[in-house]
């Protein structure tokens, strides 16, 4: 019997998985509804397999996985997600969970993934694998930002005008304009509003 812990806050998913695993070779130990509950339940229940949702009320399943990766003997993990953005996909690829399943795929695929992972294999949903590869290609093709460009984006994010940015960086206003246009081209953003709104995401690349 494989001991399973479900980490998911949505009641419908919880009830459905409970039904799905009933009478199978999997024993559902319980359900954690948040990162905090998961971090408490995992050492207590010592599951063999964790079905881990990505979006949780107090953080993400990736936070739980990151913590698990640092432990010596960790349970196998299947990320169960209704959708991840590109940065989450890249983070998940780095953390290498044993399985990744889309909630929106055929429900039969979950049991297939659980069987594969329980047998010691990796099972990644083809759609997730494809999206991860494309995200990786895009990240690789994006030119890296220089330190000065990152500084400038941060100042734009703070709402400073070109004149103030120039004073802050000790350059002329004209130089700031040239830098900004280079950044717009490099990051494929339309204007400073978009740059400011997406600053956190762009700087973290």
């Amino acid at each position: 019997m494989t001991r399973v812990l479900l980490v998911d806050d949505h009641p419908m998913i919880g009830a459905a998985l409970e039904m799905l695993l009933r009478g199978s070779s999997y024993e559902l130990l319980g359900r954690a509804r948040s990162v905090a509950e998961a971090n408490r339940a995992i050492p207590r229940e010592k599951p063999d397999l964790i079905l881990l949702d990505v979006n949780l009320p107090d953080g993400t399943g990736l936070d739980v996985l990151r913590r698990l990766v640092r432990t010596r003997a960790r349970p196998r993990v299947i990320l169960l997600t209704a959708g991840m953005d590109e940065s989450q996909l890249l983070t998940a690829a780095d953390l290498r969970p044993e399985g990744m399943v889309l909630k929106t795929s055929d429900p039969g695929l979950l049991t297939e993934a659980m069987d594969a992972v329980a047998a010691g294999n990796r099972w990644i949903d083809p759609e997730i694998a494809d999206r991860t590869r494309r995200a990786q290609e895009r990240a690789d093709s994006t030119p890296a930002l220089t330190r000065r460009e990152r500084e400038l984006i941060e100042l734009v994010r703070q709402g400073l005008r070109n004149r103030d940015i120039a004073t802050e960086l000790g350059v002329t206003e004209g130089t700031v304009k040239v830098y900004l246009h280079a950044i717009f081209d490099k990051l494929q953003v339309e204007n400073r509003t978009e740059l400011a709104l997406r600053a956190a995401e762009l700087i973290s690349r």
Binding site: M19, G23, P107
Partner: protein, 549 residues
């Protein structure tokens, strides 16, 4: 009153007129003072000089009265003329009635008004030198009085320092208007170019105007032209005027029929130009420009031109006024851009928030339903009883359907709901929830009628759904009272039930329900939970203003 207004309009923005009229009045006054009480022989000596001076003063005033070009052209010449007259007067008049001070002030004032403190200082130094040189030349003569010479010299130096201060400060003072006067023109949802141009035309009393602004580095720009009470948008493919690389933003006076243009860089001298060398004359004529002022606009991300024509009493003062006006228009456009950015940011955040709601509720529900159907299918294969599971699934679908309907209804609203309408929606929701969960669910409200933004309305509905579900599922409640009130910019929602309460952790305070807490935090609100067996009260406070984001 009408005469006063006419008089003011004659001299407003006409420092050239003031200077030349002052010169005429000084000349005539001097002429009259000298003519009275002098002998025939004395008059014979001074008469030609006085006549020449008064005559020239009148000619200059008449010639430059309506001609800004000539006023600028003659400015240096008339300045030299005024200084020469001062020197002559200083050494040809004696006693307490000597008007030498007035003739000293005239060139200094005109330098301060026309140019800057540097020209004022230069003029003063030249005048004092002329005075000193004259004094030394006359030192040995019988008419020279050392005491009078020293006294006059001291007066000149004190006056010079005062006027230099004036000349230096008038450049920094906003002499024509203040930016706050223009604040009232910034309103959301208006064409920024049209509103900014309207402001500039009103301030300058121009009958025609054009405002062209584009992103820096791009040739095409958006424009708005207004004349004869009508306006239209247009796209400008070419720059209206040439940018001068030195001395910052510029303003140009132009007369297309005469082919002239005049500019003066800040702290610089007049520059006389051919209109075609600095203005795209074809484009200018196409827009309707004839004679007026063009000023350059530079903001952080945009560059453009403000053109005003058919300006009553156009003068060289419009070089400064135009530049100041362009600066204010630039500031107005930046404010509009800021409003747009705020609006766009709020719209993006609302859209993302709605997308997250759809994802969290509908997508998760459908995914769960699919898992359940798979489970039922497997159960059926192994001969299990599937009817109770199918009934439960049907109930869940009906429940979800009502939630989606409420969500869509809220999205369909073209305006924010008033509090009373939002309460009516919540009462309808409470009735549905009451039937769904078999509980007595009631809604009461108090407070002034205020608009409830869409985001807040959706949050309130979702919070009530989740609170009711929690009360029934976890507390086994059969009576739920929902209260809604608005006070001090906050919407307060209370959900009280008679259930067993939320479970406590380690005997400590009750755990806060995650789903409610997360939604409340996203709306920048606060949540308080009073939970005890038989009485649970969830108190939620949400800001009205933050709801748009």
């Amino acid at each position: 009153m009408e005469q006063l207004t006419t008089l003011r309009s004659l001299f407003k923005f006409h420092s050239g007129r003031v200077i030349s009229l002052g010169r005429v009045m000084l000349a005539i006054t001097l002429f009259l003072v000298v003519m009275v009480g002098r002998t025939r022989s004395e008059l014979t000596q001074t008469y030609p000089f006085l006549t020449l001076y008064a005559g020239l003063a009148v000619i200059i005033a008449v010639a430059t009265w309506k001609n800004w070009w000539l006023d600028a052209r003659l400015s240096v010449l008339t300045h030299g003329f005024d200084m020469a007259v001062f020197t002559a007067i200083a050494f040809s008049s004696t006693g307490a009635t000597s008007p030498f001070v007035l003739f000293f002030i005239l060139p200094l004032l005109s330098a301060a008004v026309r140019w800057s403190w540097r020209e004022t200082a230069l003029t003063a130094v030249v005048l004092i030198l002329l005075f000193m040189v004259g004094g030394f030349l006359l030192y040995e003569s019988a008419g020279f009085e050392l005491q009078r010479f020293v006294l006059r010299g001291s007066i000149l130096i004190i006056l010079t320092l005062l006027l230099m201060w004036f000349g230096g400060h008038q450049r920094f003072a906003r002499t024509f208007f203040r930016l706050r006067d223009s604040e009232s023109v910034v309103r959301e949802g208006q064409n920024p170019l049209a509103r900014s141009l309207e402001f500039a035309m009103r301030a300058s009393q121009a009958a025609g105007g054009a405002l062209i602004v584009g992103a820096i580095g791009e040739d095409a720009a958006d424009g708005f032209v207004a004349a004869g009470g009508e306006g239209r948008n247009f796209t400008a493919e070419r720059a209206l005027a040439v940018r001068f690389r030195e001395g910052g933003d510029i303003a140009l006076l132009f007369d297309l029929d005469a082919g002239r243009a005049l500019t003066r860089p800040p702290q610089g001298y007049f520059r006389f130009l051919k209109a075609a060398s600095v203005i795209d004359v074809d484009e200018a004529r196409r827009l309707g420009l004839t004679e007026g002022v063009i000023a350059e606009i530079s903001t952080g991300a945009h560059h453009g031109w403000l053109a005003l024509w058919d300006v009553p009493d156009l003068s060289t003062d419009f070089l400064d006024f135009g530049r100041e006006l362009a600066e204010t228009v630039g500031a107005l456009l930046e404010r509009y851009a800021l409003l747009d950015a705020i609006e766009a940011g709020a719209a993006v955040r609302t859209r993302l928030s709605l997308a997250r709601d759809v994802h969290d509720s509908i997508v998760q529900f459908l995914a769960g339903a699919a898992f359940r159907i798979e489970a039922i299918k497997r159960s059926a294969r192994s001969g299990g009883a599937v009817v109770p599971d199918l009934d439960e699934l049907k109930r869940l679908f009906v429940e979800e359907q009502s939630e989606i309907r409420g969500f869509i209804m809220a999205l369909r609203q073209h305006r924010d709901l008033e509090l009373a309408e939002a309460v009516a929606e919540l009462r309808a929701l409470a009735e549905r929830l009451g039937q769904q969960w078999s509980v007595d669910c009631r809604v009461s409200a108090e407070g002034d009628d205020v608009p409830i933004p869409l985001r807040l309305q959706l949050d309130l509905q979702q919070l009530v759904r989740e609170a009711v579900a929690n009360a029934v599922r976890h507390g086994g409640a059969d009576r739920i009272d929902v209260g809604l009130s608005v006070a001090s910019g906050q919407v307060r929602l209370s959900v009280a039930d008679n259930g067993s309460g939320f479970p406590a952790i380690n005997g400590d305070c009750a755990t806060e329900p995650w789903s409610l807490k997360e939604r409340v935090e996203r709306a920048h609100g606060s949540l308080k939970l009073d939970s005890a067996p038989g009485s649970t009260n969830v108190l939620i406070s949400l800001p009205l203003r933050g709801a748009a984001a």
